[in-house]
């Protein structure tokens, strides 16, 4: 038993921390949030150079083949400053799916491109009937003349607006088992009939509507076996969710750090407000939310790394992280008062990120339902 980070992980953490302190100030994150795409190619390039984008890619394909805990350590730092990037879509969801389902040719072609920062992937799974169960995948892909034709709408898709390719999850045949008959397509963003529109709202990440109107996809762009896509995707979703949790741990920690500082410096009634029990209780709720997320997440990361079954731990971690990050931000607001509503103060960025990631890759109700199954209820 050893709950400390390795030396290498401490280095990842420290390097990420100083880099992000310098390159990813709160003002910059807010500027990006208010920009049209929320994406800065220069920053992405720097992330590639730091070796952050190829961590999940095995060495044979030009990556560093890092462990999930390594990646989690980085994600916590990214979350702390709310670094906006297509990293999770591309370098986690994208890479893991290609590794799980891709042919040798596909891996050899796609992974090095990702590692070099030349290929951004967005994963399009959810639809207007929002959900992360296979039942929710209803969009059709039909065979025609040796290729597939995709028709339908994918909704609330992060990074689709800046992606080069869309990894689209669609239904190719019907079956009593909703997990059967799903196929994964890697679709060029420029394909005729494919359009993308960024949605407006209060979101921590740009989310898009992606429309497929008779979009033709060549058979060679199927990832994995036709109709067997869910079996490849399910373990990827599980692991990617745990990585996302590490970002949420960092986000919660960011909100906590902000707030603790405020409770020490804000003076009312002649004392720092942190001496008031009600304010203290908000900070206690805040740290409890963060620590519930933190320890369930790191245990799940460790389970992935040592090859233990992770389904239960992943569902626990995503629930605890969704609830914990949300609670951390709501408690932070309670400790602050009106200043937390001022955009320049920056706290609201955490708040809307917590709300957006709350449901991304499955909300607590979804994961609790899954846990009930896994626990034999």
């Amino acid at each position: 038993m050893d709950l400390s980070l390795t030396e290498a992980q401490e280095m990842i953490k420290n390097t990420a921390h100083s880099f992000l302190e310098q390159e990813c100030s709160q003002e910059r994150v807010r500027e990006l949030d208010e920009s049209e795409t929320g994406f800065e190619p220069g920053l992405w390039r720097r992330m590639v150079e730091m070796g952050w984008v190829d961590m999940m890619i095995p060495e044979e394909y030009g990556g560093s083949g890092s462990s999930f805990t390594d990646l989690g350590v980085l994600y916590e730092e990214m979350g702390r400053v709310l670094l906006p990037s297509p990293h999770h879509s591309t370098a986690v969801l994208g890479v893991l799916t290609i590794l799980e389902a891709g042919t040798a040719e596909q891996k050899g072609r796609l992974l090095p491109a990702i590692a070099r920062g030349e290929l951004i992937i967005a994963v399009a799974l959810t639809e207007p009937n929002y959900g992360w169960e296979p039942e929710s995948v209803q969009m059709r892909a039909s065979r025609r003349d040796g290729h597939f034709v995709l028709d339908g709408i994918k909704l609330f898709i992060p990074d689709a607006h800046i992606a080069d390719k869309i990894l689209c999850v669609a239904r190719t045949s019907d079956s009593d088992d909703p997990a059967e008959g799903i196929t994964l397509f890697l679709v060029d963003k420029g394909s005729p009939g494919l359009s993308c529109r960024t949605l407006s709202g209060w979101m921590g990440t740009k989310l898009n509507e992606v429309k497929f109107e008779s979009v033709e996809v060549a058979a060679e762009n199927v990832l994995g076996s036709v109709d067997k896509g869910w079996a490849a995707l399910a373990p990827v979703l599980e692991k990617a969710a745990v990585v996302l949790c590490a970002y949420m741990v960092g986000g919660g920690q960011g909100a906590l750090d902000h707030s603790l500082e405020y409770t020490r410096t804000r003076v009312q009634f002649g004392s720092p407000i942190g001496t008031l029990q009600r304010v203290q209780d908000h900070m206690i709720d805040c740290v409890n939310g963060v620590d519930a997320a933190r320890w369930t997440t790191y245990e799940a990361l460790w389970k992935i790394d040592v090859g233990q079954p992770v389904s239960v731990a992943a569902a626990v971690a995503k629930t605890a992280s969704s609830e914990g990050f949300h609670k951390a931000c709501d408690s932070a607001h309670r400790a602050h008062g009106a200043i937390a509503l001022v955009k320049e103060y920056g706290l609201y960025m955490y708040t809307k990120s917590a709300r957006t990631l709350y449901y991304y890759l499955g909300d607590p109700t979804h994961h609790r339902r899954r846990l009930a199954q896994l626990l034999g209820m």
Binding site: T126, W202, R334, G337
Partner: protein, 398 residues
């Protein structure tokens, strides 16, 4: 006991009159608003005119004396007006004149001051902002530092206020300032009504997530002594007459929690997994729980309304209602997020449920609108309950 207002034939006839008047003065196709307190410029323009008309009728303060611009009507007729107005999505103009400022003038103002300000307030000729908070005096309002120095028949003001008003123009600033910096807390301040266009006043808008607020800077602003409400250095007590109302002491009879009812309707009409959301046992229990909490809020509001209008001495009831509303707001936001997922966060014209009201509620509930943070309500409530010490009574208001 009797939990209902009963209307006589005469009152029901009056209701017809109100309905008729509204038919004439409201456009037929009033669009529902995401946030009635944040009108567009067009809506603002329309609303200004509409409320002037309402003011001319005396219907903005129906039970107040006619001589001060009120309607001189009974409480029952006032309810009729409230009920009828509540049926329409009328854009509101941010103006604390009738609700918060007038009661303080009524309790503390001289006859001359009542004559001077109450009419224009009631008639909606002017809009009033409240300037109490400062950057270093939020929950701790008694820590304000904005200074007023007497100079002949005038006071000279310097300092800064924050969290005030809206993005639309203002005429009168109901302002709390220090008049005796050497006196103890609570005995060192005075309340003023200040013309918003007095030289030296600068209004700076804040950039906020859910609503529009401003900072106000005072740079040697000269205010006539005749604009002081209440005795010098009694401003704290004047402010209490306002805060009592602001902390929920006013009560209301028309407080259906619209957001809860809209959420329930949405869940009845939205199919997920082959059945309406409201058929899911977990969601159903949650929705009913919200319904019950909304009922509790309604009943407490009615209780406060009755206590105020029958001049019952109140204690913790005002802040209790106010606290309930604020905490219910964030609880509701969380529930909406749980049930709607990403749909709770979009105001996209294609995909937003309702007209983006759920998304607006996510942000707006964090503002705990009206009368300070939940924590401030708790402070007042505990004092009134008498935890640890004998209970305090509520401040006088009108």
């Amino acid at each position: 006991m009797d939990f209902e207002l009963h209307y006589t034939g005469e009152q029901e006839a009056f209701r017809e009159e109100v309905k008729e008047w509204l038919k004439v003065n409201l456009p037929e196709d009033m669009e529902p608003l995401v946030d009635p307190t944040n009108p567009t410029p067009d809506q603002y323009k329309w609303a200004r005119e509409f409320r002037s008309k309402l003011g001319e009728k005396g219907w903005r303060a129906p039970t107040w004396p006619q001589e001060y611009g009120g309607g001189g009507l009974s409480m029952d007729k006032a309810s009729v007006i409230d009920e009828e107005l509540a049926k329409h999505p009328i854009p509101q103009i941010y103006d604390l004149g009738v609700s918060l400022c007038a009661p303080a003038i009524m309790v503390w103002g001289t006859e001359e001051q009542k004559q001077r300000w109450l009419q224009p307030i009631m008639r909606a000729e002017i809009a009033v902002f409240q300037l109490f908070s400062e950057p270093d005096a939020g929950s701790d309002l008694a820590a304000i530092k904005t200074r007023a120095v007497r100079d002949g028949d005038e006071y000279v003001l310097n300092g800064q206020k924050i969290w005030n008003g809206s993005k639309y123009p203002v005429d009168l600033l109901y302002t709390l300032v220090v008049t005796d910096p050497d006196a103890p807390r609570h005995n060192n301040m005075s309340a003023f009504m200040i013309d918003a266009d007095t030289p030296g006043i600068t209004k700076v808008p804040l950039n906020m997530i859910a609503h529009h607020k401003n900072e106000f800077y005072f740079d040697n602003v000269r205010v006539p002594a005749a604009n002081r409400i209440g005795p010098e250095n009694e401003g704290w007590r004047v402010a209490q007459s306002t805060l009592e109302v602001e902390h929920g002491g006013g009560g209301t009879l028309v407080s259906r929690n619209h957001m809860v009812h809209k959420l329930i309707e949405y869940c009845k009409n939205t199919i997920r997994d082959g059945q309406p959301l409201s058929k899911n046992e977990g969601i159903q229990q949650t929705l009913v729980d919200l319904y019950i909490k909304a009922e509790v809020g309604r009943l407490w509001g009615a209780r406060n309304y009755w206590m105020r209008h029958t001049r019952q001495s109140s204690a913790y009831e005002g802040p209790q209602s106010s606290l309930h509303g604020k905490l219910f707001g964030v609880e509701l936001a969380k529930t909406i997020l749980d049930i709607l997922g990403p749909y709770a966060m979009v105001n996209d014209p294609t995909w937003a449920p309702l007209i983006g009201e759920f998304e607006h509620h996510q942000r707006y509930s964090l503002a705990f609108p009206g009368g300070g943070t939940p924590e401030v309500q708790k402070v007042v409530m505990a004092r009134r309950l008498g935890t640890g010490k004998p209970p305090q009574r509520a401040a006088a208001t009108y």
